[in-house]
């Protein structure tokens, strides 16, 4: 009996079904992780935030102060080296204070123009590296308070990525 040879020239139809399965799995995973509200807070570079069980989200965009191992950064501008903050005796970090006061004055001016109360406490979010000593954190926090930003919140990473 003659052996049947395979026809190599025959076109094999490209099956999209397996590709569709894969895409469906990816789509479901993406929808599960979707954050429809968007993020009002983004993590600064060069620091690791502490993990917390808190699930509280910021209600509005606020001024951000970042304290990493190298610098104290206000609104993406490097203001003073963290080492200098640690060395000083005073609670008030003068350079940070002057920048914050300037920002607070602008905010109050803007609030008046909009017909909103200008004497309300300012909101500020402080992002601090988890290894930063309490001394630096306390001085920055006190400076924020003296500059009129008395609603202070610390940015943290949600435990287990926010999963229950």
């Amino acid at each position: 009996m003659a052996r049947k040879t395979r026809k190599f020239s025959e076109d094999v139809p490209f099956s999209l079904t397996s590709m569709m399965d894969m895409m469906t799995i990816i789509l479901v995973f993406m929808i599960k992780n979707l954050d429809a509200e968007g993020q009002l807070l983004t993590q600064a570079e060069n620091l690791i935030l502490p993990v917390s069980t808190s699930k509280v989200q910021p209600k509005e965009v606020a001024l951000t102060v970042v304290v990493d191992n190298n610098y104290v950064v206000v609104d993406n501008a490097k203001i003073v080296p963290t080492e200098d903050v640690l060395k000083q005796e005073d609670l008030l970090v003068t350079k940070v204070d002057s920048v914050l006061k300037e920002r607070r004055a602008t905010e109050q001016e803007h609030a008046l123009k909009m017909g909103l109360p200008a004497d309300e406490a300012g909101n500020i979010i402080v992002q601090i590296d988890k290894n930063i000593p309490y001394d630096a954190m306390y001085k920055v926090m006190a400076t924020c308070g003296f500059s009129g930003y008395t609603h202070i919140a610390f940015a943290v990473m949600q435990k287990n990525g926010g999963e229950e």
């Binding site: 789509l27 429809a36 910021p58 609670l91 988890k130 306390y138 919140a153 943290v156």
Partner: protein, 295 residues
């Protein structure tokens, strides 16, 4: 003439190309909106001006009827103070847990061991024998653990207390179990510093009724949960959390029952402050103030 039988037609496959096109657009769009690590905030109450020594005003006399709760952390112990008195110190041994990039395994080292290794030109050692980057090891710390220590006296180096924990993954402790008397299923370890788990401490089997420190958390252990339980050093944070819950429940009628002041040393890492704030909030203390230890 024989009737020609019609061959049943092969069902046509639906045209999946438009769906594929849709998916290809949807996936990058969702990818840009996906949050893999979610951020949150922890709010605090601003410290009062009198605490900061920025003026010469004398602070007001403390209210004798108030709780005046404070939680202090030093390099060696945690202590709760209320109404001018203090509870016994909760001594701890600080441990750093790293995740090695080479084998993705968790390793735990004492800070002093890590620092002495770095001084001698080596990074923390992983389970597979490789070393972590000695320049960037601080960024690799996954958790700063405070292992509770049982001390007989101030001079006693103490022994690590081991407890039964629930666990969800790879030997990572989740919640410590307590018995019917709200006491941890725990015992001091053996060997130097009590670093060997005590043989008398057994994992509870399936069917046992246990609770965690959270109120109304009593449950009967299911076999799958019981299989995942681990014996792990008891966290000083858990010891403090249990006391805080008890205090909040006991003094619920007082006006300042929701207030707590966390007091810390200058060199306390920020991570420890956040862990204490978490425990305080979970215990019901919603108004958290911060202060410095020793003025």
């Amino acid at each position: 003439m024989a009737r020609e039988l019609k061959k049943p037609a092969k069902p046509e496959e639906p045209d999946l190309l438009p769906a594929m096109g849709l998916f290809t657009i949807l996936i990058p769009m969702l990818l840009s909106m996906t949050a893999f690590s979610k951020l949150a905030i922890v709010e605090i109450n601003m410290p009062e001006r009198s605490m900061m020594n920025m003026d010469n005003d004398t602070p007001p006399e403390p209210d004798q009827q108030a709780l005046n709760l404070s939680l202090a952390i030093t390099g060696d112990y945690l202590v709760i103070g209320a109404r001018g008195g203090f509870q016994p110190n909760v001594y701890f041994k600080e441990m750093w847990t790293f995740r090695c990039k080479s084998d993705a395994q968790l390793i735990t080292h004492a800070p002093e061991d890590v620092k002495s290794a770095v001084e001698s030109g080596h990074g923390p050692k992983c389970k597979d024998g490789s070393e972590m980057d000695k320049e960037k090891y601080l960024y690799e710390i996954e958790t700063i653990e405070l292992w509770a220590i049982n001390k007989e006296s101030e001079e006693d180096p103490g022994r690590v207390i081991w407890a039964v924990y629930s666990s969800q993954s790879e030997n990572v402790p989740d919640s410590a179990y307590v018995d019917g008397n709200n006491a941890f299923l725990a015992a001091p370890g053996e060997g130097p510093m009590g670093l060997t788990p005590p043989p008398m401490l057994k994992k509870p089997s399936a069917g046992a009724v246990l609770a965690t420190i959270d109120p109304n958390s009593a449950r009967t252990l299911k076999p799958d949960v019981a299989a995942k339980n681990i014996i792990y050093p008891l966290s000083a944070y858990d010891l403090i959390a249990k006391d805080l819950i008890q205090i909040h429940t006991q003094f619920i009628d007082l006006e300042d029952v929701d207030n707590i002041i966390i007091v810390a040393n200058d060199d306390t890492q920020f991570d420890k402050i956040i862990q204490l704030m978490d425990r305080a909030k979970e215990a019901g203390f919603s108004k958290i103030n911060l202060a410095k230890l020793g003025g």
